[in-house]
């Protein structure tokens, strides 16, 4: 799998070599360099600077100067933060982004299915989200590998993708089991292989892990993608499991614990959309798993009838469970990632914790904290300029830079 991908990158590079070279020179001379002035800079590392001038060159932050003078030539806003990171952005993907002909498809990556020409990338970037983890839609038990990418940049996936940790995406609960029925009648034939219940979903997971772990001794158990499961067991690939309800979070945690107990390996796990993480928090804490909280629902009910109040983020923080916030890649007014952080604050979370939950914490989860997630010299110039205090309903995003390139009005309205 890796070899063709590399060749692809090379081929694509050669294809547009001249075109891209000129585009890059252009970016270096103008787009990827610049400066921004803010009354307050929240670095995400706990530091706050006032009247600060931030300059960047070739896509990286070069200087941070507190107490600087206002310059009319430089964009000026009330607050500056790092670009936000959404670990569960559901953008520019479709039914055709996940291979559903297998219940367990670990060897494919969603990278080959993302539409980087989709204008929604620019719309998302304009809300201040600069990096996302894109995962295959949860239509089967294990959908495949996720991809890390900036929300703006080259339209060639090989160039756009960031190299951080790898994530194997799958789901517990009723997403992979609902609807797996014939057009009519009961699922009464041996050909109805797909799970129709949570039990069936769990069975697919366990079978995949146990087969993969046993295949070195029992070669007949080998299956396509088994190596990915072994990498998960070895801790080299993070398991990223959607589980809204407490029953599904429990199932995921028990699976992880069973694998450890059996001596197969210690799985690094993050629960996606763990709306009911608050119901059995000690279990989650015991498992050392982190949780991505889904968008805060207005009526209290998140996906799969899970219940989630606005204080869940605060509870996770108090219990010391690693968590991040997600807007599912929404760019709608009132439901952006910044708005989710605002709701978490409304639920009692402190501002710096809310900021970390949409910047530095997800950056660490991706293994990219050296590059993104905070405003520091040498890091990527992923910046969001706000008109007032960040995440407040009365504040708006004035400007966004992705790797030093401004997200422009025209790029957010390309269609």
């Amino acid at each position: 799998m890796m070899r063709p991908m590399k060749t692809l990158a090379l081929a694509a590079l050669l294809a547009g070599a001249s075109d891209r070279a000129s585009a890059q020179t252009e970016a270096k001379s103008s787009g990827a360099s610049g400066s921004v002035y803010a009354d307050v800079l929240y670095t995400s590392t706990g530091k706050t600077f006032e009247n600060v001038l931030v300059t960047f060159q070739d896509g990286r932050i070069t200087t941070i100067t507190p107490g600087a003078k206002v310059d009319d030539q430089v964009p000026h806003g009330a607050a500056l933060t790092a670009g936000m990171v959404d670990l569960s952005a559901r953008v520019a993907r479709s039914e055709a982004s996940v291979e559903q002909t297998n219940e367990v498809e670990a060897s494919l990556s969603v990278a080959g299915a993302l539409d980087l020409f989709d204008p929604n990338w620019a719309r998302l970037a304009a809300t201040g989200v600069t990096t996302v983890l894109a995962s295959p839609p949860d239509r089967n038990v294990v959908g495949g590998l996720s991809a890390i990418l900036k929300t703006q940049g080259p339209t060639d996936i090989a160039e756009r993708q960031l190299t951080g940790r790898s994530f194997l995406r799958g789901a517990m609960g009723d997403a992979p089991s609902s609807g797996n029925r014939p057009a009519w009648g009961a699922p009464n034939s041996i050909y109805n292989r797909r799970p129709t219940t949570r039990m069936g979903v769990e069975w697919e997971w366990r079978k995949a892990f146990i087969d993969a772990a046993s295949a070195p001794d029992y070669p007949e158990l080998e299956f396509p993608g088994a190596d990915v499961f072994r990498a998960v067991l070895a801790g080299n690939v993070t398991l990223f499991v959607q589980a809204f309800t407490s029953i599904d979070i429990r199932t995921a945690v028990f699976l992880k614990e069973e694998m450890k107990r059996e001596g197969f390996g210690d799985i690094q796990m993050w629960i996606d959309s763990g709306a009911e993480a608050w119901k059995d928090p000690q279990l989650l804490k015991r498992s050392n798993s982190g949780v991505v909280l889904p968008p805060f629902p207005a009526d209290g009910y998140s996906g799969e009838n899970s219940f989630m109040a606005w204080d869940v983020a605060k509870q996770m923080d108090e219990l010391g469970i690693p968590f991040t916030l997600s807007a599912y890649g929404s760019f709608s007014l009132g439901s952006t990632l910044g708005d989710q952080a605002g709701r978490a604050m409304h639920g009692g979370l402190a501002f710096d914790k809310a900021l970390a939950a949409v910047t530095l914490v997800p950056a660490r989860v991706l293994g990219l904290e050296d590059r993104i997630g905070s405003v520091e010299v040498g890091k990527d110039a992923d910046l969001v300029l706000w008109s007032g205090p960040p995440f407040e309903l009365t504040s708006r995003v004035l400007a966004v830079w992705v790797s030093g390139t401004p997200v422009t009005q025209s790029s957010s309205a390309t269609r």
């Binding site: 547009g16 001249s18 559903q100 219940e103 295959p136 609902s178 014939p182």
Partner: protein, 397 residues
């Protein structure tokens, strides 16, 4: 060959040839548009056994009849990417990868649809399998006047668009969307006994495996052993198809959607030709701009036509719309003729009036590039197959 012989007989019955059945003749016209060469006024062309032997202003040959006609003579036009003429018999939906399929065995050379193309000056049509498979097998290129198939026209059809997932059983709640035939009569649920895939990455891996299987039909795509027809629609799909072509040095044509112009530079580097999507109400602005961008980048391209759904005259209308977007008259004409021929690798056979090429001509009563010009006569492989009795010989002057 058998079919060819049959169809030639039929073609003769369509329009009794005036100039000559076989053998040699000279056409003399007021204006001869060679294509990518000069316009000869007057001009002569010597045709021998359906092939152009000589072109010039002073062509002569012993014992060869000369037919003097008034008007403008051009090469016949070329329509790309027609799926309607083949119809259901042109593609087999039972397998997701079926490189051995050949559309020519499902092609009816007598179909009246060809005749309608012919009457609009389209002398060659590229037929693509109307398939939702990843690899639908080989298409064909046919002469409209006779149904004759060109030996070099059998490109291997590979899909990169979402259309190929339409036959995949859909395990959504309700399960009625998509699925098609196999949803009801095949094994239910998500099982695909015919190897269908439901995703871009799944199809891409299958394709990769197919071309890397040594000695297979598909492996001949690598390095251009067999020409390919890569069907795409969105820019993402087109760029995936391009990456595939570059990776395996595939030669052929990329069928692409209205915004393909944004990838013109990359396509130029790939060496592929472009079949520009059928212009629809929703896409003409982007499609016409794309034509301009492709021409600027030097990418050979032509226009697709769905002959049973749309009047054959819309091929010329597509070119006219592109001129509105800034495409030069010569480039618009090129897209209708030798640009399209280049795009499908047949520029040695068709597309211009030049020695050695098929004697496919259109006689117009005015400049072929003007939409007001009307078609008076059409020749295919040297045989006159259309004579429009409604226009007066002599044309507008």
């Amino acid at each position: 060959m058998f079919i060819t012989a049959l169809t030639l007989t039929l073609a003769a019955s369509w329009a009794p040839a005036q100039a000559s059945n076989q053998g040699a003749y000279i056409l003399q016209v007021d204006h001869l548009h060679t294509g990518n060469g000069p316009v000869l006024s007057p001009g002569k062309v010597l045709v021998r056994d359906g092939v152009i032997a000589e072109v010039g202003d002073a062509v002569s040959a012993k014992d060869v009849p000369i037919l003097e006609l008034h008007g403008h003579l051009s090469a016949g036009m070329i329509a790309l990417g027609d799926t309607t003429i083949l119809g259901q018999e042109g593609a087999d939906a039972t397998r997701f990868v079926l490189p051995e399929a050949e559309s020519r065995f499902g092609f009816d050379p007598h179909t009246p649809a060809l005749r309608r193309l012919c009457e609009q000056g389209i002398t060659t049509v590229v037929l693509t399998p109307p398939s939702d498979a990843l690899v639908a097998g080989r298409g064909l290129v046919a002469k409209t006047g006779s149904g004759r198939m060109l030996a070099k026209g059998q490109a291997m059809h590979v899909a990169f668009d979402a259309g190929m997932f339409e036959d995949t059983p859909d395990p959504t709640p309700g399960g009625m969307s998509g699925g098609g035939f196999f949803q009801f009569f095949g094994p239910n649920g998500s099982v695909t006994p015919n190897g269908y895939k439901s995703s871009y990455p799944g199809a891409a891996r299958l394709l990769e495996d197919a071309v890397q299987t040594k000695g297979s039909q598909m492996s001949q795509l690598v390095g251009g052993g067999i020409r390919a027809w890569l069907r795409s629609d969105s820019r993402a799909e087109t760029s995936r198809a391009l990456a595939f072509a570059m990776r395996h040095k595939v030669q052929g044509t990329i069928e692409a959607g209205a915004r393909v112009g944004e990838l013109a530079t990359q396509i130029q580097a790939s060496g592929l030709g472009v079949a520009l999507t059928v212009f629809r109400e929703t896409n003409p602005i982007h499609a016409t701009r794309s034509a301009v961008e492709l021409a600027k980048a030097g990418v050979p391209f032509g226009f697709c036509l769905e002959a049973r759904d749309r009047n054959a005259a819309t091929l010329r209308l597509s070119a006219a719309l592109c001129r509105r977007a800034g495409l030069s008259a010569s480039n618009a004409w090129k897209a209708l003729t030798f640009g399209a021929a280049q795009a499908v690798g047949l520029d040695g056979e068709i597309g211009t009036i030049a020695p050695g090429k098929d004697a496919d001509f259109v006689l117009w009563d005015g400049d072929p590039n003007e939409l007001t010009s009307r078609i008076e006569r059409v020749w295919v492989d040297g045989k006159q197959v259309v004579q429009n009795t409604q226009t007066s010989q002599g044309g507008k002057q």
